[in-house]
């Protein structure tokens, strides 16, 4: 039980007054940004990432853990009370959650969501503690061919399998790969695509790309619509979020079912928590129909809140494990976390446990502490958080704009970076305007260099023989899984198009 010893040392490192303060501040800030209407956990991470730069790495990551989970807790609050889920991973919670709120049971819904997020996060983090060393062992057996296959898997899964349009997903991926190519090539020392600008020799900062795409791009997109779309209706919530013992017993199986859906998706690069939350919601819906539960879909059922929320946070928790042990981001938010590690010159992956073991275990321990703090502040002060929903939209977006400028400026005190930020922000707007997915860009930016390096290494080892890329069983399995997933997605897209065509009206010549 090496892990327990490590974890106890981690707790010893995390339970200092300063570190407790950072995890608390992170949890507060993360929840606050998550609760703010229209802002999700990825926005929380993108905006608050630069804030942590002036801290030492351990304190920064502890604070980050709080922000990461805090955003997830906050997302569902906005969804339940306002029907505006901050992230698409909170949509499934919103269906039943908002029904509960409309029928005057907002406190029950909030409590079920907070408890679900806590349980999902707790189980997933515990699993990470016990399985991270196994993942690390697995990862150290990986050679260049396997790493390249892993990157290709993530690229194709996020850009094609889960995306609305395969063409748009792949295009977003291509844009991200080009952005990642800018700068000096590490292997040969060649300067690539810098347009002669010395500022670009180190490449375009990942912070600039993420803040531009996620924060500034979103502001411009909202600006393009603000005078055109109707406003949402606000539902006030007050007091504490309460959960009776009967409700607890009713929701417990749903929490556990949700967690079971969420955990596997934490290690599959399929874009994060969206798929498991919807799977969990669908399961609860079918179960409710079987039981004859009339609350579901009318006044709202707490099971419909419990399962997706637990699924979402267990995915987030496991994603942390995949990120630390494999260096594999499964979602846009996880890609941001990797950006944070890289900012400190650390590369998540098997070597991280060896080189910075103390920090990793302190981080894992602070995930537990963060969850407890989040449960308390979300249960006790639900009414207070709900007040944040009243912040006028103009101040909200003005604040985001100023904070994104601040964050990017803080990285290297460079005005040139701010121009890049504005350019990427406009790119983010154009992508949203024409319904291009943003997540593939971030995944490509993070994994692009890894894919390129490993592909070149693999081909150097094999002296140009492409067969080497599929020579080991691990690579064959990954490519085979990918083929099945792509074939399934293509089949589904084609079926949907046929259905659309069949239901469309025909223009007849009279």
């Amino acid at each position: 039980m090496d892990q327990l010893t490590h974890l106890m040392q981690g707790f010893a490192g995390a339970l200092t007054l300063a570190n407790l303060l950072w995890v608390f501040v992170g949890a507060l800030l993360g929840t606050a940004v998550g609760v703010l209407p229209g802002l999700g956990s990825s926005m929380a991470v993108a905006l608050l990432l630069p804030v942590t730069f002036s801290l030492d790495p351990t304190a920064a990551f502890i604070m980050f853990a709080g922000i990461y989970f805090g955003g997830m807790f906050g997302d569902s609050t906005a969804g339940i009370l306002l029907n505006t889920p901050g992230a698409s991973s909170a949509i499934a919670t919103t269906f039943e959650g908002h029904r509960l709120a409309k029928s005057g049971q907002a406190a029950r819904a909030l409590a079920t969501a907070a408890m679900g997020a806590f349980i999902g996060g707790l189980i997933a983090t515990t699993l990470v503690v016990f399985f991270a060393p196994t993942l690390v062992k697995l990862a150290t057996a990986f050679g260049p061919a396997e790493y390249f296959a892993l990157a290709v898997f993530a690229f194709v899964a996020i850009s094609s399998v889960v995306s609305d349009s395969i063409i748009k997903g792949l295009t977003a991926l291509g844009i991200g790969l080009v952005l990642a190519l800018i700068g000096v090539d590490g292997q040969s020392g060649t300067t690539r695509y810098t347009l002669g600008l010395p500022e670009l020799f180190d490449g375009l900062s990942i912070i600039v790309i993420t803040v531009g795409l996620l924060a500034l791009g979103e502001v411009i997109h909202v600006a393009s619509r603000i005078h055109r779309d109707p406003n949402a209706v606000k539902i006030p919530a007050s007091g504490r979020a309460l959960l009776s013992r009967a409700d607890f017993r009713k929701a417990l199986p749903a929490w556990l079912r949700g967690t079971a859906f969420g955990v596997p998706f934490g290690v599959i690069p399929a874009g994060g928590a969206e798929i498991p939350t919807f799977l969990a919601y669908g399961t609860e819906k079918r179960l409710a129909a079987k039981r004859g539960d009339t609350d579901f879909g009318t006044t709202g059922s707490i099971n419909g809140v419990a399962a997706p929320e637990a699924a979402g946070n267990s995915t987030a928790g496991m994603a942390m494990g995949a990120l630390l042990a494999l260096g594999l981001p499964v979602s846009a938010t996880a890609a941001l976390m990797i950006a944070a590690f890289q900012q400190y010159g650390m590369q998540p992956g098997p070597l991280l446990f060896e080189r910075s073991g103390d920090m990793v275990w302190t981080l894992l321990a602070s995930l537990f502490i963060g969850l407890v703090i989040l449960l308390i502040i979300n249960m006790q002060f639900a009414g207070l958080w709900a007040k944040l929903l009243l912040v006028p939209r103009q101040y909200l977006y003005a604040g985001i704009t100023v904070l994104s400028m601040l964050g990017v400026y803080a990285v290297s005190s460079s005005v040139v970076d701010l121009w890049f930020l504005l350019a990427i922000g406009i790119l983010g707007f154009v992508m949203r305007r024409y319904h291009f997915p943003v997540a593939p860009v971030l995944i490509a930016v993070i994994l692009g260099p890894l894919a390129e390096t490993n592909l070149r290494n693999a081909l150097t080892i094999s002296e140009g023989d492409l067969g080497y890329l599929v020579a080991s069983p691990a690579t064959v399995i990954m490519y085979a899984l990918l083929l099945v997933a792509v074939a399934y997605a293509a089949f589904k897209h084609a079926a949907q198009r046929r259905a659309n065509r069949a239901s469309a009206k025909v223009l007849e010549d009279a």
């Binding site: 295009t171 080009v178 109707p230 003005a398 504005l422 943003v438």
Partner: protein, 215 residues
Amino acid sequence: MSTTDIQTEAGQTGRDGDEAIRITSFWSGRSELVVSALILALAAAVTVGTATMNVMGDTIPGPQFFPTIVCILLYVLGVVHAVSVLRTRRFPQGADPRSHDFSPDMLAEFGDTGRDTVFGSTGQRPRTTGRVRAYSDWKTIAWVVGGAAAFILTLPVLGWVFASAGLFWVICKAFGSKRPVFDVGVALLFASITYVAFNVGLGLNLPAGFLEGAL
């Protein structure tokens, strides 16, 4: 282009069926060709960059190997995208889904819900006096982008507090604030708080501008 009534994309998928859009020019519902052009332009830029690259070292495969793959991918996608836009006109459908990272069809199937509920219903098309307005509100966008550009230009001169307060105020105005004078106060307060919290509290080096020394 002749003036023909056609069903919109929304109509084809059977959502808000009965509205028809009149096509007045070749570009109606095809503004997305701008994106195809951008993709192809990006591919061309990468081609030029790859061809003129001053290659160092003699690693095989070299630094041009991976970019070439990406470049071919972009050319193919640019053409396929252009063809798909030319084949089906795409019209704005009002409130759009928040995220395009996921297929609403797939999520609706997993969640056993209607497609519309996944990202909210597509709602009303933005319209004024019977005409379908362009999807994007370019005036507000210009305010936001212009405000950001002005901020970047004036930051070294005005310093963080005044430049960011100005940016805050401009964004408020663009987003339709009705109280410009009150906003000045909020903007200055927000700017000062960020300055104090980050410069003094966290030790970031934000420019003081012409107040250098006074602060």
